[in-house]
């Protein structure tokens, strides 16, 4: 076999997959797969509705004629001072002070979505930058940054969150700072790992030989290749941030009343759940619907971007088929053992 023949074969092998995905970018494929995922589409619709609730909160306030911070001691509290149940006047009932719970839950949407999105943006930007720097420069820079990432991931976050909230006084800014601080490390770790392997690729060598500086290589050449895992991590970070925010509020260290957030409504509801189920149930349902929707969307995006998921499931199908075949007495043994697809090792991500 001559060298040219070998080259020809190698070339044809390289060309085949390129033809298969001709004219379809990764984003097109992802979007196409995501659109077929009914759960993910449903989740997207729910998220749009939730965002509408947040935007339209003042409109709901105008329709009901109830301000989120005003108390209605005459119509909103029963004669013995207990909360009033859901009805035509107060759609979700009232809380212990006579606030309109419906309007407060709608306004709470604003806080949850705002904190979820803002902390994810900050955490992602920081995580990507630190991961790129750590992975690209390596050496002592990487040594220090990797240790910092490990410490942040292993630190009992609740202790730092509580201490900071107490030192600087509870406020929305502190909540955002604390959640952002704990959001970047996971993303940085993944980005660092990917950067380590990407920086050895030939096209990075080519960029360097064309005179690109390290920052250009990191953000123009390497970063676009990291978009898929970063997008998945960011989507899944939003529900985690929303839960974190609500938990800080619940412990009395986040957004303070009279500003309404789902966490502080639920904190107040804890003392009244025996008399007023609506006080607890409506904000809890709002919170859980939101986190379920974001988690579903995150899973959908991950499945759509990761062709490996389909292969894992195909392997499961193959194995079951094989087991059924084994149970049958007839059939050639060679046909019963197709090669299971090789999976990359789980630690690689």
């Amino acid at each position: 076999m001559s060298i040219s023949e070998l080259e020809f074969q190698a070339k044809s092998v390289e060309d085949t997959p390129a033809q298969a995905i001709e004219g379809r970018s990764q984003w097109w494929l992802t979007w196409h797969r995501l659109r077929r995922d009914k759960l993910a589409v449903a989740a997207m619709i729910v998220i749009v509705l939730i965002a509408l609730c947040a935007i339209l909160a003042p409109v709901f306030s105008a329709i009901t004629g109830h301000s989120p911070t005003a108390v209605y001691p005459n119509s909103g509290l029963a004669a013995d001072g207990s909360p009033v149940g859901p009805g035509s006047l107060f759609w979700f009932g009232t809380d212990n002070l006579g606030h309109d719970l419906f309007v407060r839950v709608m306004y709470g949407t604003q806080i949850s979505l705002f904190v979820g999105v803002v902390t994810t943006l900050i955490g992602t930007a920081a995580g990507v930058s630190i991961g790129l720097i750590s992975g690209y420069f390596g050496g002592w820079v990487d040594g220090i940054l990797a240790r910092v990432v490990d410490s942040v991931l292993a630190f009992p976050y609740i202790i730092l969150a509580l201490s900071l909230a107490v030192v600087f006084g509870p406020s929305l800014t502190i909540v955002i700072a604390v959640i952002s601080f704990f959001s970047w490390a996971g993303i940085a770790r993944v980005v660092r790992g990917q950067t380590l392997s990407l920086k050895e690729k030939e096209y990075i060598e080519a960029a360097r030989s064309l005179g690109s500086g390290p920052w250009r290589i990191m953000f123009i050449d390497i970063f676009p290749n990291l978009m898929a895992p970063v997008l998945v991590l960011a989507t899944l970070n939003i529900p985690a941030a929303i839960v974190f925010e609500a938990t800080l509020d619940y412990l009395g260290l986040g957004v303070q009343p009279p500003t309404s957030s789902w966490g502080n409504i639920l904190a107040a509801a804890q003392s009244y759940y025996q008399q007023a189920w609506w006080f607890l149930v409506f904000p809890a349902v709002a919170l859980v619907i939101t986190t379920v929707a974001f988690n579903l969307l995150g899973d959908g995006v991950r499945d759509a971007m990761d062709p490996r998921t389909e292969r894992v499931l195909a392997a499961g199908r193959g194995r079951r088929k094989r087991r059924r075949n084994l149970a049958r007495p007839t059939g050639g043994p060679s046909a019963q053992y197709p090669d299971p697809p090789r999976q990359p090792s789980p630690g690689s991500a």
């Binding site: 991931l153 292993a154 609740i158 509580l162 639920l266 025996q274 499931l313 999976q343």
Partner: protein
């Protein structure tokens, strides 16, 4: 011998971590004006002379470095000091009262978390795409989406309240010592356990399912099948060992998350353990108590990580302890 050297090194680095964390907590406390302690203790009508006297008695008027030296000296001699509140009770008394409560929450919670998480994960992976797997996936998603305190509050509403209204008083909130009877103790602890375990179990179901599915595609599993081993032996002896390593390494990271869960669970159910008192101490500015809780939490994280590394080495023969 390698094991002894490993343990000595990890214990030494653990002590450094404890020192760093407690120092951080100490100076973080002084970043906030310690005068609020005197104001909280003196009450509204306290004159400035009384405030100064309280500050002097607590030693808060000394230079910070002097106070830091006293603190280090005390801590090295295993003296946790006196609480600023609760009539100056020794912190060690508070800790010894709280410790069994927190331990009760942790023991059952962690047990349910690991057993349910791993069992459901393994069953889902070996029956991928079955009805069981699909319902487990939905369950995991819902479990992941429930904030711990919301799950706790809803359990109070839909389990505790109706049961007690209908005269079944086994499930209670608060705490009863195990010495009042195992069954009684369980009645107090069952809801905190479920609450603490659910979110974590969901994470580990997902993790162990994915990891086992990956491992089942490895060549050595095919070899094991080709040798004619039973499916049970292939999964539980060969594949599971390899699949558990990433799960175990995640355990070390999740110890911190677990402590957060304990704080929330204790607050929801009024268990009155370390977590609930820590929140109290932090909002009061009770420095000796805060430092004690920080030390215990860090100690827990350090010890748990040493155990995780040991288990890791047992599971994966390629990992050497050194």
């Amino acid at each position: 011998m390698a094991l002894v050297r490993f343990l000595i090194r990890r214990i030494l680095s653990g002590i450094v971590v404890l020192w760093l964390v407690s120092t951080l907590a100490f100076f973080l406390f002084f970043a906030r004006n310690p005068a609020i302690v005197a104001r909280a203790l003196g009450g509204r009508q306290a004159t400035s002379a009384i405030l100064a006297e309280i500050t002097r008695r607590l030693g808060l008027n000394q230079p910070i470095l002097t106070q830091y030296w006293h603190f280090l000296d005390r801590t090295v001699h295993l003296n946790l000091g006196l609480s600023y509140y609760q009539g100056g009770e020794p912190v060690s008394t508070i800790v010894s009262q709280d410790l069994p409560r927190t331990a009760s929450v942790l023991v059952g919670g962690v047990l349910i978390w690991l057993v349910v998480g791993l069992a459901v994960g393994i069953l889902s992976a070996t029956r991928a795409r079955s009805l069981f797997d699909r319902s487990a996936t939905v369950g995991v998603l819902i479990g992941l989406s429930f904030p711990t305190f919301v799950l706790g509050e809803l359990l109070l509403l839909v389990v505790y309240l109706p049961l007690n209204e209908h005269g079944y008083h086994w499930i209670e909130t608060g705490y009863a010592s195990i010495s009042t009877g195992f069954f009684n103790w369980m009645g107090y602890m069952i809801l905190p356990w479920i609450t603490l375990a659910t979110v974590q179990a969901a994470v580990y179901t997902r993790l162990s399912r994915g990891s086992l599915l990956d491992t089942l595609g490895e060549d050595y599993v095919r070899t094991a099948r080709a040798k004619g081993l039973t499916e049970r032996r292939v999964v539980y002896r060969h594949a599971l060992r390899g699949a558990l390593t990433p799960v175990v390494s995640q355990l070390g990271i999740d110890v911190g998350t677990l402590l957060g869960g304990v704080v929330v669970v204790e607050s929801v159910f009024g268990v009155g353990g370390l977590g609930q008192d820590a929140v109290q101490a932090i909002s009061n500015g009770d420095l000796p108590t805060i430092i004690a809780f920080v030390l215990i939490a860090s100690l827990f994280v350090v010890v748990a990580n040493i155990i995780v590394d040991l288990v890791y080495a047992v599971l994966d023969p390629r990992v050497r302890i050194a």
